[in-house]
Symmetry: C2
């Protein structure tokens, strides 16, 4: 299996500023392997609010269930993330492990277990020995520092070929506030590894309700408009934390999502989610091309989304892109199987701006050579115009290569 960095990795990695009220520390707790950094502790100052969205899996991991329950309090003092073991499909011992981890963290941090949030990624079905956190978390709580963002982003990686971070600084009222985010992909599961995880931190003084609204609206066209292989982890977790420390600099406390002062912040927050989710697509297992599927002229946006997802999840479309083949017949197939309103004779299809089909037939101006040249690009846009209405949508994915099959199928041999 190749461990080379994805050719689609962004060329520039931003400098990650500190976020007042957040301190980070990482360690090797020996969860699965000895000597590998496998635990991240984020310490959050008193007053930090929290929001979260999770996998829609009917078989979620124990940490997902833990976080869902604790979100109700709206307050957070610590985030513990481990790799090496997903604590998923571990039965009753899974629940006991999350409780014990939270107890150890709460003691180390000096907070209630209700204020501890957990995320785990790694092997499924193996009991997670939470006693390994004993001692480790206490030490991390002592040594945590505000400037460890890249280490933190690396600590949560599993099959990722590069760490994924994003940052933005924006005005809230007259004060400067900062948003930092990190994510790990997505493949979805490799040597038994699972999970998309992402964590967003800001010093803006936002109520938990406002943060939850931002997150819910923000994922709609970012993390929820992203697919690698159509498979859904039991552990997908996206948590956002707002320390409120910028209030000391005069940032207004925001307790209504409709507050007009939130406009610039909302835009920046959304951009962070878009940036991180695109990085996840760029690091899809075996990915050699980033694929943007745009569907326009649909009757409704959900209909456009469903058609775009049908195209983005089609193995035949994805293998065609890997083969640099503008195979619009397969795109028609994927439109047709989505089950949404579509009129074959009104369809137009473009690859990277070159229209190959219109009005339900090959475009008369189709030029094989021109199209073949365009398909060599590392980023491919498939645009489908349905010609029925005014709704549109966009989904990100990557191609399906032999490397994907090798990563996910070869490791036993």
């Amino acid at each position: 299996m190749s461990t080379a960095v994805s050719p689609l990795a962004p060329p520039d990695v931003p400098e990650m500023p500190v976020i007042a009220g957040v301190r980070l520390a990482t360690a090797a707790a020996g969860i699965r392997y000895k000597g590998r950094t496998d635990v991240l502790l984020a310490l959050l100052d008193k007053g930090t609010t929290v929001a979260g969205v999770f996998t829609k899996s009917k078989c979620p991991s124990a940490p997902v269930e833990w976080c869902r329950a604790k979100l109700k309090g709206g307050a957070a003092r610590a985030l513990v993330v481990n790799s090496g073991n997903a604590n998923a499909f571990t039965g009753k011992t899974g629940k006991a492990s999350t409780a014990l981890t939270a107890q150890i963290a709460a003691k180390a941090v000096g907070c209630s277990t209700s204020d501890v949030f957990l995320a785990s990624t790694g092997v499924i079905g193996e009991p997670l020995d939470a006693t390994k956190f004993d001692g480790v978390l206490a030490q991390l709580a002592e040594t945590a520092t505000p400037d460890l963002w890249m280490d933190a982003a690396k600590a949560i990686m599993t099959t990722d070929t590069f760490p994924k971070v994003a940052t933005a600084t924006v005005k809230l009222g007259k004060a400067k506030v900062t948003i930092n985010g990190m994510a790990k992909g997505a493949g979805m599961i490799m040597p038994d590894m699972a999970t998309m995880l992402s964590f967003i931190f800001t010093d803006a003084p936002l109520s938990a309700g406002v943060l939850q609204s931002l997150l819910k609206a923000g994922v709609e066209d970012t993390f929820n408009a992203l697919t690698i292989d159509g498979d859904t982890s039991t552990s997908d977790t996206l948590l956002a934390f707002a320390t409120g420390a910028a209030a000391a600099n005069g940032a207004p406390k925001i307790s209504r999502a409709s507050d007009p002062r939130l406009k610039a912040f909302t835009k920046a927050f959304q951009q962070i989610l878009a940036d991180l989710s695109e990085q996840v697509a760029r690091d899809g297992e075996g990915a050699r091309k980033l694929v943007e599927v745009v569907v326009e002229g649909a009757t409704t946006k959900p209909s456009a989304r469903k058609i775009a997802m049908s195209i983005a999840n089609s193995p035949l479309v994805k293998t065609a892109i890997a083969g640099e083949d503008a195979n619009w017949g397969r795109v028609v197939m994927a439109v047709g199987k989505a089950g949404e309103p579509a009129n074959r004779d009104k369809l137009s299809i473009s690859f990277n701006g070159i229209r190959v089909a219109k009005s339900g037939a090959r475009d008369p101006s189709y030029n094989e050579k021109e199209v073949s040249e365009a398909m060599k690009a590392p980023r491919i846009q498939i645009k489908v115009a349905l010609g029925l209405g005014k709704a549109k949508d966009r989904v990100l994915t990557c191609d399906l290569t032999k490397e994907y099959v090798a990563i996910n199928g070869d490791y036993r041999s």
Copy 2:
């Protein structure tokens, strides 16, 4: 691309008997390539009834639309199948092509165009030049013979590595009747090739309504419980023809699907569909393992089907099978993402009869070596017991190999 016969091909090919009232002929009409057999004509005696089921694609091919319209008459005198061009996504010219093909066939056979049924498989988006059938069909009508079943099954192949036929002889009343079937797979689209096609012929005297009932009930657990890659062709077509010629031997005319005399016939008919659909799975593009997914203990059968399909279409499950890895974590993932009722802590999972997980955790008796040995078999059964209700279902698929990606992605390079 490998052209070797699938290692999963059935070892024995049945002798195909004649069906009174059916004559067959094949030719090379030069639809796409010169000198390649690419057209099949089946002549059907007067009185032949017809039934059909088709792709659910919202962008069906012109021949699918033609057949749907003509089914209303319930009578058939000719079936014309061509490979090389699917006549799909060909706009208005596609409709004109089907009309012209039917005219040429009707003239050759001496029947109404309403009694001509059409199926096309091959490149999408290229106009089908139906004038190539001129002369060819007239000659085929003259030379058609009752014993050409294997040639017919070969004539409709595209990416198939072996011809797919099945036959059964059964009593209807006191008379012997025969059912013959043929099919082509499924990949679904290769060098622009599309389509699953299957044709069933019998000499039993069945009304069109009875035939349609048999077909509709029959596909539910056979062709509709089959997936290669989750992609749906624009052209999938399954037609059944009943010549009624066995009436001359005393077979009773059946005009009600509930007629008790139909019992043995129904069973044999269903068995033919099961046999052919399994052969299609055995010839999935790049397939090295036949995979049977059984879901039991579900709340309803549709729920069991949805979960089984989620497992069967999961790239991560399919690549794990290709890697001979009993990766039950991925099976849990696929159960969870189906969105159907499931309780993680009640799940049990077996591979080829060896239980690897129970009550939401690894089976205590799990033996890695025993399981690894079992996964080497060419046929893998994944059984999931949900522990919720009494409903069960079963779906057939194949593994996802690098060969699949090569077949569908490499041909441009």
